[in-house]
């Protein structure tokens, strides 16, 4: 347990904060949080953070409860696990998921935590983590898909004081940076994280000076309480007392040939509280897909879904946490035993959104979206230039790709977009200017979005043409199970990858791989998956389907799934459409199922090789 050094001795007073001041503080905190993003984006060097925005900030109250931020983390868990003193001017750093209760979930994420002092006491906390493109270890980008332990995943930094009373620990930083392949990137990105936290610190101090420290602290308490009260009403409104609802989704494989992994989540409301229970999920994986999840993070994910729809302007925060109990079985996918490998947990991080969507949407039509682009597929490429002015120089790329947003109650899912806030793709011209590659194609793939009244977004095809020899790595999923549709909507298409070798051979790639050699002239076809459809596709406006054919987003063949008959130029045949729709409706069983996950799992496994060119994974077994 950390020992906090504070010189102020008088206790803070709890004061009444009027609704107006409360909104002023809320607004100022929101601004401070966005300013943190801005500072980091503008100073970071790694493309992952500067171009793609793979980072997450938060500001917490003095007890460490997040008042503003996203993806939180648990400051209390962090402090619980930190042995030592913390005083003014200290800035803490860690990358060890096992030492902070899963506040971060793989060693690529570097987490900076900073106490914010005002007049001799800790009044708040700022924290931010960012994904480092490389943290050393056996493979470039430090995410070996075949790892069995965290020791294979590069440097794991235990929580320590990077700055002691404002003084940087140069030696420690030197040791850390000596482990990684791109120390300049890590140094700049880390500088940016610290600068962002310090910016938050200044803003909080300004607020304390403006409103008074008692009022500021009381305002934070009141903001937390606002969430608590709102959530209490929502829970009673949305969930029946005593009823248990469950939802199950899958991760296809663990990178070592096992799968699919069953992820099960159940919810039961009892009185004013709900229980979120992960019991029934698959055991811990041998490969690195385990998602060591923090209980508070589960609460937060849950809260986001509930509150986004109720009052989008609200600053959601930790205030409602006492209303939510979380049960995570030990030695499971969600809480693997040390030293399990964790690097590929991004599929779990993504899939939990589908899990919550499916779980909560059952009773709440406003929240029921189809399955979306619930992952952040990674593509890596590295090597040494063999020719030209940069001959001998090391290049290394880490990038995140996107796919189809699901069909939603509000409308179609956007094609090729990000489910992650503030994430963007890396411009192709940037990639071509800084890496030995050409991007021959970047477009969404027609018909990959699930059919529905609201169509699922299309997945994206990227064609990477390599100009230098090197190796590539890929982290993706949903090559086997389908992104499901809802309310009569159909599933989206699965992801695919292959290399067209320069000698003309086609090599199908699994969704998770490392250290695959590529040569000049080889082309990687990298296709992400589509979003599921929402609602009955037979009810979609035929003119809209025709228009989408003209736009190249749907083909005339794909239009048949909507019962729409068009030629390939998108000219609608109304009579044939009417006839086809009647015929299709006649062959269906109504009501249409709430969830359409494609064929039964057994069938999917049976047909895996035939349909994907990849062998079905082996059923996971508990590890001894």
């Amino acid at each position: 347990m950390a020992k906090l050094i504070e010189t102020a001795t008088t206790p803070l007073r709890s004061v009444e904060v009027d609704v107006v001041t409360l909104d002023l503080v809320e607004n100022a905190l929101r601004n401070a949080r966005y300013e943190m993003d801005e500072v980091l984006f503008r100073t970071a060097l790694s493309p992952g953070i500067r171009e793609q925005h793979d980072e997450f900030p938060l500001i917490a109250n003095r007890e460490g409860k997040m008042v503003v931020g996203q993806f939180g983390l648990s400051v209390p868990d962090f402090l619980e696990n930190f042995e030592g003193t913390i005083e003014e001017g200290d800035v803490l750093l860690t990358s060890d998921p096992y030492s902070c209760g899963g506040s971060i979930s793989h060693a690529n994420d570097w987490l900076v935590v900073m106490p914010i002092y005002f007049e001799g006491r800790i009044i708040s906390w700022a924290a931010m983590f960012g994904h480092m493109s490389d943290v050393g270890g056996k493979t470039p980008a430090s995410m070996p898909t075949d790892a069995k332990t965290i020791f294979e995943e590069g440097i794991v930094i235990p929580p320590f004081r990077l700055y002691k009373k404002g003084e940087l620990d140069h030696d420690a930083l030197k040791i850390i940076l000596n482990q990684v392949r791109k120390p300049d990137w890590n140094r700049a990105d880390l500088n940016g994280l610290v600068a962002a936290c310090r910016t938050a610190g200044r803003r909080v101090q300004e607020m304390c000076a403006r409103f008074g420290v008692d009022a500021f602290d009381s305002a934070l308490t009141a903001l937390l309480d606002r969430n608590y009260q709102a959530m209490k009403v929502l829970l009673a409104m949305v969930f029946k007392d005593g009823e248990t609802i469950s939802f199950t989704d899958y991760i296809d494989d663990d990178g070592r040939g096992h799968g699919p992994y069953e992820l099960k989540l159940s919810l039961t409301r009892t009185g004013e509280k709900v229980l979120l229970d992960f019991t029934g999920s698959s055991p811990q994986a041998e490969g690195p897909i385990n998602y060591y999840i923090n209980e508070n993070l589960v609460r937060m994910f849950f809260g986001i879904y509930m509150i986004t729809v109720a009052d989008p302007q609200i600053l959601w925060n930790d205030g409602f946490y006492p209303l939510v109990d979380v049960e995570i079985p030990k030695d499971s996918f969600w809480q693997p035993k040390y030293p399990a490998a964790l690097n590929a947990r991004n599929h779990g991080v993504g899939r939990i959104f589908d899990l919550f969507g499916g779980l909560l949407g059952q009773n709440n039509p406003d929240l029921l979206n189809a399955a979306g682009f619930s992952s952040s597929p990674h593509f890596m490429y590295s090597g040494n230039y063999t020719t030209g002015p940069r001959k001998g120089e090391w290049f290394q790329l880490y990038s995140v790709s996107f796919g189809g947003i699901p069909g939603r109650p509000v409308g179609d899912g956007p094609d090729g977009h990000s489910l992650w806030p503030s994430f963007v793709n890396i411009p192709c011209e940037y990639l071509e200017s800084y890496y030995p590659m050409r991007i021959e194609r970047l477009e969404t793939v027609s018909d990959t979005g699930g059919a529905g009244l609201h169509r699922g977004g299309n997945g994206v095809e990227t064609e990477y043409f390599f100009l230098e020899p090197g190796t590539i790595a890929i982290h993706d999923d949903r090559w086997l199970t389908y992104p499901w549709g809802v309310n009569g909507g159909e599933p989206g298409a699965r992801g695919r990858k292959w290399i067209q070798r320069v000698d003309g051979t086609k090599e199908i790639l699994p969704s998770k791989l490392i250290d695959v050699p590529v040569y000049p002239g080889d082309v990687l076809h990298y296709i992400t998956w589509g979003g599921g459809g929402w609602g009955d596709g037979l009810l979609r406006d035929p003119e809209l389907v025709a228009l989408e054919i003209r736009r190249g987003l749907v083909t005339s063949e794909g239009a048949l799934r909507y019962g729409v008959v068009c030629d390939e130029n998108g000219v609608l045949d109304e009579a044939a459409t009417k006839k086809l729709r009647e015929k299709m409706a006649g062959e269906r069983v109504y009501p249409l199922p709430t969830f359409n996950m494609g064929p039964p799992l057994a069938t999917i496994l049976e047909r895996a090789f035939e349909e994907t060119g990849l062998h079905a994974p082996v059923k996971p077994v508990p590890l001894l």
């Binding site: 601004n31 060097l45 500067r50 947003i405 094609d415 994430f423 011209e429 071509e432 194609r441």
Partner: protein, 693 residues
């Protein structure tokens, strides 16, 4: 000919300001805008202003115009049907739009994705490819180009945009396609990305080029119509249009690059603020322009507005140089509401708009707006000076009562005060974006407040920012027209380099800058400004090699001594900015991304008007006394008629100063001093109230 005329066309009114360059005497005219053809309203207003001055239209030397034609085309979605030509494999560049979804986690659930400015069915790919260093990977297939363009011709496109991959390094293919398009699509205007924005990042370059094409036909037509109308009416002077960056260009130049006009309107306001603040002796200040639905803010340092490289209009963000104006959806019409779940008091971003407008306008509005709160608190007298509009205080009270009913606030006044506090805070948020968040301390700046509602909120914003004095310009409602009339001609030439410092030298860089300067001068020279009167400034966008964002830095051409002095000066200037913005430096090498040369004509020599001198006693302008709500209770406040105020008059708050198009609120504990230039300067009591000159 000693008259210049400033013209600002807004959504509702067209403001005209006629200035006698020699005496500084001004004549104002306000007429209804004529959206179907804005030139009608413009000409009508000009005639009216000339009548007042007793001159003929033929005596006008120059017509200086801020226009929202381009802005409105974007906001109303009424631009041209644009065709887009891309490299094979990139047809969906606008559909994918960098994959960005706004909002927080789960924001995608509620985000309505806007349609691309150029539809996919109007987008074609051509066979060609240029590599990242400008090498031709695949030659342009001209037969394919013709086939594709014929498709677009059949689709009936009204404007064409061309944006190929890596064209910023080699524009040959784009230029050739433009030539072919001139044959295949005669009469269609063409926007070419390597001319509009020769910068790396294909999406940003494409959207900017498409936006240019989207507004071009309307802008070009408008400028041509206006020019011919002016000529027909006997105006012999030239027409100049104000760009987003605050510089004037000829009508013809404006028509070629209309994407640079998207913030022409707000730029006029900032330019006007520069003119006004200069008269009062303040060179560093924030500007805030508060209208009915939104508020625009900017920062001006040493009379030079800070310039940004991005322009945002509604959902659209393009890469075009503009005064760094930030907009928040908060204004007089912003609606206050209380979401039932959280019981929070929210103001905006929904607005009552012009119809039904605030409840106090008596046009059927029932939702409480910021204007209603101002009426309830007595800040907006129910009978405005001029007596044209009267406000319904009871309707305003019933509207604000809805907030009382939904919250724990116990009186209508408390609710109204809460609404004002919150909307002021939203505006403060915008002011912080351009000041604190850019490393500037607002307490070192003055605050110039204008727009219809600016002077009402200005004093409170001075308190929140610590920016003093708060300057209320004469005629705050027509400041844009003032800006149009008092700024200068400007043109810039840009080139993207992306070059590490070790890959260039002082001499090479100087040579490139000189070339840019030569091309920047052309339109000015064509506009009859002799080279001797043109001023050239240089700037560059720098970053540490590997960073994703650049910082604009002024380039000192005199430091280029051929021995590395120029690069050293650049390095030092960049480091100073980086330190100021982010409070740290890196050892990484510097990289020059973009360089630009800006040619400016001389500032017009316009004599400032001078008010007659009075004493500190303002009683000649006293109208009557009213009750207003301040600091939790009702207090008496004097109302003054601004038209009767004299230089050196001092008004102590609480007080209200009314004029035709605006109302100024002076809070208790503050004083407002009338400057001889006509501006009112508000400061906290106890600060130095005596003004120079």
């Amino acid at each position: 000919m000693t008259y210049r005329i400033g013209v600002d066309v807004g959504g509702t009114f067209t403001d005209i300001l006629l200035m006698n360059e020699e005496t500084g005497e001004t004549f104002r005219a306000k007429t209804s805008s004529t959206p179907e053809d804005q030139s009608i309203g413009v000409l009508r207003g000009m005639e009216r202003a000339c009548q007042q001055a007793g001159i003929g239209l033929d005596q006008i030397g120059e017509v200086l115009h801020g226009t929202t034609v381009a802005t409105n085309a974007i906001l109303e979605g009424k631009g041209a049907k644009v065709g887009l030509v891309t490299t094979r494999g990139y047809r969906q560049v606008l559909q994918i739009a960098r994959s960005f979804v706004p909002g927080g986690l789960a924001g995608w659930i509620i985000w309505p994705k806007p349609e691309p400015l150029a539809s996919l069915e109007d987008t074609v790919e051509v066979i060609e490819r240029i590599g990242s260093t400008g090498e031709i990977v695949t030659a342009l297939d001209e037969a394919d180009v013709r086939t594709q363009l014929k498709k677009l011709s059949k689709r009936g496109i009204e404007a064409l945009s061309i944006s190929l991959i890596n064209s910023f390094t080699n524009s040959a293919h784009e230029k050739r396609i433009a030539e072919i398009a001139a044959e295949e699509l005669p009469g269609i205007q063409i926007s070419v990305s390597s001319s509009v924005l020769p910068e790396l990042r294909e999406y940003e370059r494409t959207i900017t080029t498409v936006a240019n094409a989207y507004v071009q036909p309307q802008v070009a037509k408008y400028v041509a119509t206006l020019e011919s109308q002016l000529k027909g009416a006997g105006v012999q002077g030239k027409l100049f249009i104000l760009r987003s960056d605050g510089g004037l260009v000829s009508g013809q130049t404006a028509g070629q690059n209309p994407v640079s006009l998207l913030l022409s309107g707000p730029a006029g306001g900032v330019a006007g603020a520069v003119w006004v603040a200069e008269q009062t002796g303040y060179r560093d200040f924030l500007t805030i322009d508060i209208g009915g639905t939104s508020t625009d803010v900017a920062l001006v340092q040493d009379l030079t507005p800070r310039v940004g490289r991005e322009t945002t209009v509604g959902d659209l963000k393009v890469r075009a140089t503009s005064i760094d104006v930030r907009t928040v959806g908060a204004g007089g019409g912003s609606i206050a509401h209380v979401p039932p779940l959280t019981k929070a008091l929210r103001v905006g971003p929904q607005s009552a708009g012009a119809v039904p407008g605030p409840a106090a306008y008596g046009a059927g509005g029932i939702e409480p707006t910021v204007t209603d709160a101002n009426v309830v608190l007595g800040y907006l007298p129910t009978v405005l000076a001029g007596g044209e509009i009267s406000l319904d205080k009871e309707a305003a009270r019933s509207a604000v009562q809805r907030i009382v009913d939904a919250t724990s606030l116990d009186t209508v006044e408390a609710a109204a005060a809460g609404i004002i506090d919150i909307v002021n805070e939203n505006m403060l948020g915008a002011l912080r974006l351009v000041s604190v968040q850019q490393g500037f301390d607002p307490r070192e700046f003055a605050l110039v407040a204008f727009g219809g509602a600016g002077p009402l909120h200005a004093n409170a914003l001075g308190v929140l920012t610590g920016a003093w004095p708060v300057i209320i310009p004469p005629s705050p409602g027509v400041l844009c027209a003032y800006g149009d009339a008092t700024t200068n001609l400007r043109n810039e030439s840009v080139r993207t380099l992306i070059r590490r410092f070790s890959d260039t030298t002082d001499d090479k860089l100087k040579e490139m800058l000189t070339e840019l300067a030569t091309s920047a001068r052309v339109p000015l020279t064509m506009g009859d400004i002799p080279e001797s009167e043109q001023q050239i400034t240089y700037s560059g966008d720098l970053r540490y090699h590997g960073q994703g964002f650049e910082i604009p830095v002024t380039i000192d051409i005199d430091a280029f001594d051929g021995k590395g002095g120029g690069l050293n000066a650049l390095r030092a200037a960049f480091d100073a900015e980086h330190e100021r913005l982010f409070s740290f430096l890196l050892d990484t090498e510097h990289e020059l991304v973009t360089i630009r040369a800006t040619a400016s004509g001389p500032r017009p020599e316009v004599v400032a008007p001078v008010l007659p001198e009075g004493s500190s006693d303002p009683s000649e302008a006293f109208v009557n006394t009213t009750e207003i709500w301040a600091q939790g209770g009702l207090v008496n406040a004097n109302i003054y008629d601004r038209g009767k105020l004299k230089a050196r008059n001092v008004i102590h708050g609480p007080a209200i100063i009314t004029e035709m198009d605006s109302t100024t609120l002076v809070l208790p504990g503050h004083s407002a001093t009338v400057h001889r230039s006509g501006s009112i300067l508000i400061e906290p009591l106890g600060t130095n109230e005596t003004l120079e000159g």
